[in-house]
Subunit: 352 residues, 2 copies
């Protein structure tokens, strides 16, 4: 038994963190009193409490919440948020919304990057192994069945922006289809009949939904959907630009463009610039972005309230944590068309 002073035998003061045991030893009281002070329970004299607080400050004590959670009904007061690498304003707003609600509930939000589909599972598992009380997931991968054990263990999982596959869970979505319908109808109203579509991979839920809405609008006006005016699979602004250049350089170019996310919108603007068509080809883009009003002409967009999506997802999660257990469902939030100019360019008279 070598120099067993403060339990851990801390002497140098350098390595390892002080524990409650150390604080207790420092004061000459029991560990339980320290615990009481820390948790604001009563049953400790003011004098002792004072000395304990002093010792904690002196030693630089910080409670180990991990150990605490281990004992305390396995709650960590932490919720996990998994985000794929986006590179849009989506992140910030979403985190904000979630944070607002979590804070009200006394929970702490930890965000992890799930990156590509391949790494997503690993990321979510790591979050769960760190025992979050709930999980909000912006899906990157295809199947989330592996999260079922978490759900059954009482950890609610809420999906954002895309519905879950392989698991029954709440989802908070944007009304992609209706937004795209409105955007397309807006262009049709200006007389456009040849509308080019540029977007990411159609296997992505939001992309498929948006295309569906686009086609619905065309049907309503009895305009044929021209396959050759659609360019999908553009994963970044660069690829979208090339798709647009290709589209606009074809024999029968579109008189308007409908872009399926803001990266595509930015790519489209670059393409229109290069070809000197900014004022001649109309454009409506899905997703708003900060400088949309500064581009010439200002970009007409379909916008959605991402912060509200975050708040809604967080509320759903906390409701489930509180014991509510209706059948998992989808909440769909509306979009708004913001007319700024690019979408109000009328069709060029082709007979001239």
């Amino acid at each position: 038994m070598p120099s067993a002073v403060g339990g851990t035998g801390r002497t140098g003061g350098r390595a390892g963190r002080p524990t409650m045991k150390d604080v207790a030893a420092h004061v000459g009281t029991s560990i339980k009193s320290v615990s009481r002070v820390l948790n604001g329970e009563d049953g400790v004299s003011a004098a002792t409490a004072e000395r304990i607080l002093q010792a904690m400050a002196e030693l630089g004590f910080r409670r180990n919440d991990l150990a605490r959670g281990l004992r305390q009904s396995d709650r960590t007061s932490t919720i996990g948020l998994a985000l794929p690498q986006a590179g849009t304003r989506f992140h910030d707003s979403l985190v904000h919304g979630i944070d607002e609600i979590a804070r009200q509930q006394g929970s702490f939000v930890l965000t992890a990057s799930s990156g590509t589909a391949a790494r997503e599972r690993e990321t979510l598992t790591a979050l769960c192994s760190r025992r979050v009380d709930g999980l909000i997931v912006v899906p990157a991968g295809e199947d989330h069945g592996f999260l079922r054990p978490e759900q059954q263990a009482g950890v609610p999982v809420v999906f954002v922006d895309r519905p879950p596959h392989g698991i029954a869970a709440d989802a908070v979505l944007t009304d992609h289809a209706e937004g795209a319908r409105a955007g397309t109808a807006h262009l049709l109203r200006q007389g456009h009949r040849r509308i080019g579509v540029v977007g990411d991979d159609e296997r992505i839920f939001s992309v498929a939904e948006r295309i569906g809405g686009h086609r619905a609008a065309l049907r309503t006006e009895q305009v044929a959907y021209a396959e050759e005016l659609t360019r999908l699979g553009a994963r970044c602004a660069e690829e979208a630009m090339h798709a647009c250049l290709d589209l606009l350089g074809s024999g029968q170019p579109p008189t308007a463009l409908f872009t399926l996310n803001n990266q595509c919108t930015i790519g489209a603007v670059r393409a229109l610039r290069r070809l000197g068509l900014t004022r001649r080809v109309a454009m409506v883009g899905f997703d708003d972005f900060e400088t949309a009003d500064l581009i010439d002409p200002p970009v007409t967009v379909i916008s959605h309230d991402v912060e509200e999506i975050g708040r809604t997802a967080a509320r759903l999660m906390f409701e489930r944590m509180a014991g509510h257990s209706p059948a998992p469902g989808r909440t769909t939030l509306p979009t708004k068309l913001i007319a700024r100019g690019s979408g109000e360019i009328p069709v060029v008279d082709e007979s001239s």
Copy 2:
């Protein structure tokens, strides 16, 4: 003793998570064998191992890494990143860079929003209470002395973008002063002598540094620094726009603007638009942004490699974790001027 079956007495399969004890009971082996399988140690027959793996899958077992860390030298393989709410691309790139290095080191990055200065301490403390192995902080507040105990306990802390106060720790900074000097010199070279400056609060390190660089450039060319052309305290694009409107509407308006971050740049562009001065007043902005090339005229900026900042900070952190302990220092990364058009507008001949 009511139906004590699997240790925890789990029967419904609903509440609580399965533990190693449950897995062991399910297989009819000891908890230690389960542990061995999980950690890839040998000393378990292939047959038993197989049955254990099966049971884990069946029960949806997930190891509690918190409990693990409690026992295992208090390492959690997790590093914490604290970010104030920025609303710029800074976030994404920084997280990316840090993530890249952390992944190589087998660590997991958890990001928390530190929000305003007031909430920062609370956020950082919460991260520490969750026992991260290291901490990367983009400071929001003024004093970080409260992090000293963490450092002493062997948790390295690295600051990004602003140097620490009240604590000796590594910092990874941008060469704000040199960048601002170069940007200002660029404008001076076009003949501008009345350069308006719009930025956030001067108490922010980067703002002060940038102003310093700006003034240094003026001194070199023997141009007087005109206090009345400087508008600080603009915390968002909106406020920056009003500051610019004010500046440009004054009796002796500047012929060029130097904006101290991208929010201010965006505000300035809006102001120039409103006044129809986009082609007449030159502008250079600190920080690049995605659509800078799409604005008319395209915006000349001082850009820095944020991802590299992240990688550098992470590397420093892991080096300290590995035992390196030189005196804490500053690493300063260079900036690059990207001329796109707005900064190359020559001074208007005032005599005409």
